[in-house]
Structures are given as C-alpha cells and as structure tokens.
Amino acid sequence: MTPADITQAIIDLDVDKARLIVEKLIGSGIDPEEILDHGLVPGMKKVGDLFSEKVFYVPEVLLAAEAFYAGFNLVQPLIKKNRPGGRKGKIVMGVVEGDIHDIGKNIVKVVCESSGYEIIDLGKDVPCDKFVSTVIQEKPRILAMSSLMTTTMTGMKRVIDQLEAKGIRETVHVIVGGAPLTDDYARGIGADGYGHDAIQALAVVDKIIRKTHKG
C-alpha cells in the first residue's frame, strides 16, 4: 500500500477506502508529509483537473472532498507538529450574509487547502462585520467571499467598503466568486480577483501570492 493508492481512492470517490489507507500508512510509519504530498494532494489535484475537463461535476467533487478530508484530518495534526509555518498563506473565506449556499465555497476551500493554504472558514450567512473583524484579527493574505444569489451578492461590496472605512483594505487581497458574478462585477465592486470556478479561484490565489511574495 502506497500514497498513490490514496490518490486513486480519492479519484474513485471512495471515502472509506481513503480513510483506511491513510490510517494504515500512518500506522506503518510512513511520513505524514509524504502521505499528504504524494497521496492526498495529487488526488485533489487530479479531481480539480477532472472538474475543469467537465468529467466531474459538483456531486463528484463533494464526494472527492469528503475522501480527501477523511485522510487529511488524520495527517494534519501530525504535519502541523512537524512542519510549523509550512503553509503557503492564510485565506479567510465565507459565504456572504443572507446566503446559505456553501457548496461552491466548500469546493474552493478543499482545493486551496489541498494546495497548501491555511483556511479560516467562516461558513455561510456571514455578517459583514464578521468578515472585517476576522481580517483584523487573523491578518490573512486573502479574503475570499462567495454568493450564489443575485439578492445577496451586493453584500460583498459592503464588506469591501467597510474594509476601506476601517483603513485596512490595502492589507488584504479580496477575491470573489459565485454563480451570478462576473469579472466585470468583481472589478466594479473593487475586488482584486474573481474565480469562475474553484480551479480558477486557486489560480487567482496563486497569482496573487506569487506577485506579493515577500522574500
């Protein structure tokens, strides 16, 4: 049994198998980082590719994410001990107030988390103040907001306006996504980036992080 078997279990959408393999590999003394880097992460990367190619849709990605987290939740505590500060950057994310549709946000979360970002997930129906106070407290590189409804997407602008009002807009990059949004809309409300889907969202995040990397 090897980390590559975890990759296959994720692609096969087999949650129980993914968990079982990770348990066995940890038990047999395989380095948790190797399990993550050579098993779990390639699995979600492949799922991301299949999603982009329209082979996988949302139901498949939800199951793959469940398989990923079944293993990730086992290795994450071990990796954090061994590799402090090894993440690519911190992202605060959530669905705006009034909107409870969080599938898209959850997919972006798993795609980013599996790529090495630390995620602070505020969940769904997140009030404007909560986004702003979390940015102040956590100092993330990126704030990611989503909305599935035309009735709630206006909440994103309120958050950006409040970041401006508090004088902290320049400290964080804001990206937005969700079915009714467009690139034009994102620019119009003053966001720094827009992701049409989870894979594009990750590309936008990577680009921002590369451009602003200090070091």
Binding site: L13, K54, Y57, V58, P59, E60, L62, L63, E66, G98, I100, H101, I103, N106, D125, T150, T151, T152, M153, T154, A179, P180, L181, T182, D184, Y185, G188
Partner: protein
C-alpha cells in the same frame, strides 16, 4: 391575444419580460419582503404595481425558492432575508435515515404551507392583470435537493441512487397536487430547476434524475391546457437538447444561442441589468434579436435593488425592435 401567447403560437416574433420577481417588486414598492411572501394580497399588490411601472408583456409570481420546501416541512426564516434553515426532518427521517444529515433546526415557521399565498396572488392577478399570469414552481429535482439538503442529496445521486429517487418522488408527488391547483386557476406555470443546471450536475445525472420528472410535469400542465415554461440557471448548454425534448412552451436559459424547437426566453444577462448601462443593455438586446422568435428577458431574476432605469431601458429597447 396577448403578445406572449402570440409569440408562443408563432403569430409574433418578440415579447418582453425581464424576470421581475417578488423581491424586486417589494423593493420597488417599499414593502418589506417578509410581509410580501406571507400574504397573497400583498404579493399580488406589489407584482401588479411593478407591472404598472414597467408595462411588460406578462407577470410572474415568484416569491422565493422555498415555498414548496417549507410546505414539505423545511424550516425557513423570513428575516432579514429569506433563508432555508434546514432540511425537512420528517421526510429525511421517513425516507432515508442517513448519518450525515442533521435534523432540521426547530423553528416557529417550520412546515408552514405558503402555497396558499401563491394561489391567492394568482387568483387576484388573473382577474386584474391584462397580461398572462405565470406562476413559478420548483422542479422536482431541485425541490428534492432542498428537502434533503443540497450537498447530501448531490452525494446520494452517486452513492445511493434509490434514496435520491425517493426524495424526488416525494417532491414530484407534491408538485402534481400543487400544479393541479394552479391549472384550475388557468395560469401559466414556470418550472424552475436551478439544481439541475450543468453548472452543478453532469448531463448524465440530469438525464437519469431530472429529465423525466420535468417532462411529466410539463405534460400535465399542457394536458390542463395551460402554458408551461422551464427555467434553468447557469450553464445549460450541455443539456439543451434534453431541455428542448421536455416539451415546454418556453425555455428560459442563460445562453440563448443554440437552435431549439422550444421558444426561448432570455438575452440580457443578470449582471447587465443590475450593473450595466443603457448602451450595454441595448447591445445585448440587439444581439438577442438575431433569434427568429424570442421572449426578451433577463437570464435570471432581476436583483432586488436593480435601478428601475435599467429595467425601463431594457423594455424600451426591446419594444424598439419589436
């Protein structure tokens, strides 16, 4: 005969109706949304006032997506905006005791049947409005997703097909009864199936789970001598031929470019009506007018706080080409 019916019957090429729904009407009339969605007379009142303001070619009674889900036992909160709080616990417990589904949160409004609000509004508008009245209902696939919770339902489609079908059967059974009441009123019926979009599920899953319930409801509506429309949000291109085969009179989709036998409805993107200017609206209408027959509309609901100037511009430009 009215413009929409003429276009359906190939006696005219264009009609116009931006997808103005209850939230925009309530905002326009400065009436609290939560009052509108719980009172048939208020709902009819704001829809009629919006019709008088804009003078489009039909009216649509669409209060919110959760009317039927709430009637089936889902918890819905009305303030500050409408939220679906939890799955229908009684249905989930009966149909599929699945470990990952949590019981719906207890709430005062749990299980209230607001279909009577819609029926009352339909009754009033049918008498009052000089244009055809359509009522929006949920497609059985989307309704099943709401009563089971969406992410759980989507996973069932792959890992427990039979359980997913049982949720759809409950939804279909409810919609048969609801639609029968609407047919008695003689209104047109628009079936909205947002969860069946190719932005969410594959064409294969659409074929397996969403197509047949839609086809059955459309057949029932047409047997009742009413007009039937379908609305699917997001990407519908991969399922366009199946949507065409459902047999509806009107097909409301984001991308109206594919050739279909069914009369299409759309042409102006939601973001354009919300944030665009007159030139952009005019450009999109000119492009849409390349279709031989069309109900010029927005690709999805007109957002609540859309500037009425844009809605009026859309209607004005649409009139110019018709």
């Amino acid at each position: 005969m009215d413009s929409v019916t003429k276009v359906i019957n190939k006696e005219k090429n264009y009609a116009v109706f931006p997808l103005v729904c209850a939230d925009h009407c309530a905002w326009l009339c400065k009436t609290p949304f939560k009052e509108v969605v719980q009172d048939g007379e208020k709902l009819a009142g704001v829809i009629y006032q919006a019709y008088q303001e804009y003078a489009y070619d039909m009216v649509l009674i669409f209060s919110d997506p959760y009317v039927e889900a709430q009637a089936l036992g889902c918890a819905v909160e009305f303030s500050p905006r409408l939220k679906l709080l939890g799955p229908s616990s009684r249905i989930v417990e009966t149909i599929a005791p699945i470990k990952s589904v949590r019981a719906g949160r207890a709430h005062a409004s749990c299980g209230i049947d607001r279909t009577h609000v819609i029926l009352r509004a339909a009754e009033i508008l049918k008498k009052k409005a000089p244009v055809p009245v359509y009522v929006s209902v949920k497609g059985p696939f989307s309704l099943a997703a709401f009563i089971a919770t969406t992410d759980h339902f989507l996973k069932l489609l792959i890992v427990a097909e039979e359980k997913a079908r049982r949720f759809i059967d409950v939804a279909l059974d409810f919609q048969h009864k609801y639609i029968a009441r609407l047919i008695e009123l003689g209104v047109g019926i628009f079936i909205g199936d947002p969860m069946a979009s190719s932005s969410i599920i594959s064409p294969e899953l659409f074929r397996k789970f969403a197509f047949e319930p839609l086809r059955m409801l459309v057949k029932e509506i047409k047997n009742g001598r009413c007009y039937a429309g379908i609305h699917v949000c997001g990407n519908s291109l991969p399922i366009m031929s199946m949507l065409d085969d459902v047999g509806a009179d009107i097909l409301s989709v984001e991308d109206i470019s594919p050739e279909t036998r069914t009369l299409k409805m759309g042409g102006v993107s939601t973001s354009t009506i919300y944030e665009g200017d007159r030139e952009k609206i005019k450009h999109e209408i000119s492009r849409a007018a390349g279709n031989t027959r069309l109900i010029i509309s927005t690709s999805c609901d007109v957002p609540a706080e859309t500037d009425p100037v844009n809605v009026k511009a859309m209607i004005q430009f649409a009139r110019e080409i018709t």
